[in-house]
């Protein structure tokens, strides 16, 4: 099916896409730096991925294959409707397979499968400013970024250890990009942080409500902040996936009945079904 003729390709008008691409180019040139952009009203509410969807619209071409994941899953409401949206307004092919996608828009997860140079990972970001909770003045946080004055972020980690005995930040764990800019990796679990380091794929971050775009170019160093005597540890539930038996992927806890029965399954549904298929083929 070709796309809906009532819309410009990929919904946004060409000059808006050009404006967003300019912001993306600047973001790629300064890894981890938040670039303001003129975020548009999108046909979905703030918090549902308005930033990610605009970035995707700006980088999408007719031959691209789009995958959208929400909490690792391809079949949740948000993922299904954003995929359907781009299928209708751009006529692009969509997929649930990580390996086949050229653009992956994501909320909360990085796919378990290693991404390649041919792929772009687009994050939906609710709160782009990592210092915001500690320093409420935006003008001041921008100055802190400009001067690389990041001691305050370690105060947050210090407080975690003082209170809980370990760094209790388990998602949106702050990272240093290219040894210069402090960046919030959107609410992905800290488990996914190491995947950002030296990733071959381009990583783009879009925050619609906050009107910011930032990026990590391919093969860029991304380090999670920590202390010498409390090194960064990616955390996962200490179980094996109930469906595919994986012991090295990020797990979701799922209730299965109303008497407290629960199982742990892979949060990345595509990776899990791939492993299940492999297991079946081997048997």
């Amino acid at each position: 099916m070709t796309h809906h003729t009532g819309y410009n390709f990929a919904y946004l008008d060409e000059s808006t896409k050009r404006m967003i691409r300019r912001a993306i180019l600047k973001a790629v040139a300064i890894p981890g730096h938040q670039v303001p952009f003129g975020s548009r009203e999108m046909p979905l509410p703030y918090g549902w991925g308005t930033g990610g969807i605009q970035v995707t619209a700006a980088v999408l071409g007719p031959t691209d294959v789009l995958k959208v994941i929400d909490q690792g899953a391809d079949d949740t409401t948000n993922a299904v409707s954003i995929r359907a949206f781009f299928h209708r307004v751009a006529g692009v092919a969509t997929t649930e397979r990580t390996a086949e996608a050229t653009i992956i828009q994501t909320r909360h997860r990085i796919p378990e499968r290693l991404l390649t140079e041919q792929q772009i990972l687009v994050y939906q970001v609710p709160i782009p400013e990592p210092l915001g909770k500690l320093e409420p003045r935006i003008a001041e946080t921008r100055r802190m970024h400009a001067l690389a004055d990041y001691g305050l972020m370690h105060v947050k980690l210090y407080e975690d250890i003082a209170r809980f005995g370990h760094i209790a930040t388990s998602y949106a764990y702050p990272v240093m990009v290219n040894a210069r800019y402090l960046m919030s990796p959107s609410p992905i679990p800290a488990f996914d942080n190491p995947k950002m380091d030296q990733m071959p794929a381009l990583q783009l971050f879009g925050a619609g409500r906050e009107k910011r775009i930032y990026a990590v170019p391919p093969y860029t160093s991304v380090r999670s902040l920590d202390f010498d005597d409390h090194p960064f540890r990616p955390i996962r539930a200490p179980h094996a996936c109930e469906l595919c038996g994986s012991r090295d992927t990020y797990l979701d806890e799922v209730l299965i009945d109303d008497v407290g029965g629960r199982i742990f399954v892979c949060s990345d549904t595509d990776h899990c079904s791939e492993r299940q298929a492999m297991k079946e083929a081997a048997e």
């Binding site: 001067l147 370690h154 407080e159 003082a162 202390f227």
Partner: protein
């Protein structure tokens, strides 16, 4: 003195509209010296402190810190100075502390800002400094909001001194505290200053505090330094009519 001054200011002028907040102020501070600036409200004391520490730009004049032009330096350099060799103790501890961060975190912030990355060491240093300002180390993980006013002020001092600065600016550090707490705080400041060989520029309207702490004293009025000299000399033999008035207005207990 043959030693060069730590900080020296020349011809500072700053006007707020028609009011002259600073009217040709010169000032030198030598290493290890405590200098008090006294004067009535609105005489330009706090403005002088803010200009010297680079928080505010004067209309004209110069401030030199160990050969560096304070007014001409970039913000990055000034901030580096502010968190290493300088310290600023505010009158209201809420301005100098992070109220939602534990006492230990407050003391550790300056250490972490200059690159300390070992949690155990930061904590040990915080405990050491809590001890030096006479706060029970068991309260390290409490937030300052739970502390009394005097404790908050002592915590602010610990947080400022932890990086062993050379020069500390204090803006009415004993203001708003009751008398017995003031006395204890002054005693503490005096001991720390002697211990660490700090140079301190202290703004106060409390003549008694100035007498107790300061080696030298400047009396300000309407943006001018009307009299300066050794503390005892100024207080025992005031020359300028305003200083005479100031000294005679002190209530004897």
């Amino acid at each position: 003195m043959s030693m060069p001054p730590l900080l020296s200011a020349r011809d500072l002028e700053l006007r707020f509209g028609r009011v002259a907040a600073l009217d040709g102020v010169d000032l030198d501070i030598w290493p290890g010296e405590v200098v008090a600036i006294v004067g009535e409200s609105g005489s330009g004391k706090t403005t002088l402190l803010r200009v010297l520490s680079g928080l505010m730009r004067p209309d004209s004049g110069s401030v030199d810190y160990r050969g560096q032009d304070v007014l001409g330096m970039g913000e990055a350099a000034r901030r580096r100075l502010m968190r290493t060799e300088w310290g600023f103790v505010h009158q209201n501890p809420r301005d100098g502390l992070r109220m939602a961060v534990s006492a230990g975190g407050n003391i550790g912030e300056r250490l972490m800002a200059i690159g300390a990355r070992h949690y155990g060491n930061i904590r040990a240093e915080a405990a050491n400094w809590l001890g030096r300002v006479e706060i029970d180390a068991a309260r390290m993980d409490d937030v300052p909001a739970k502390f009394s006013g005097g404790m908050q002020q002592r915590l602010q001092i610990a947080r400022t001194l932890v990086t062993q600065p050379k020069l500390v600016f204090m803006d009415e550090p004993t203001g708003g505290l009751d008398v017995s707490v003031q006395a204890r705080l002054l005693d503490l400041i005096r001991a720390l200053v002697a211990d660490l060989g700090l140079a301190v520029l202290i703004v106060t309207h409390d003549i008694a505090a100035a007498r107790l702490l300061a080696h030298r004293m400047l009396v300000m009025r309407e943006g001018c330094v009307v009299e300066q000299g050794l503390t005892d000399r100024v207080l025992d033999d005031p020359q300028h009519p305003y200083t005479q008035l100031l000294v005679s207005s002190v209530l004897a207990a």
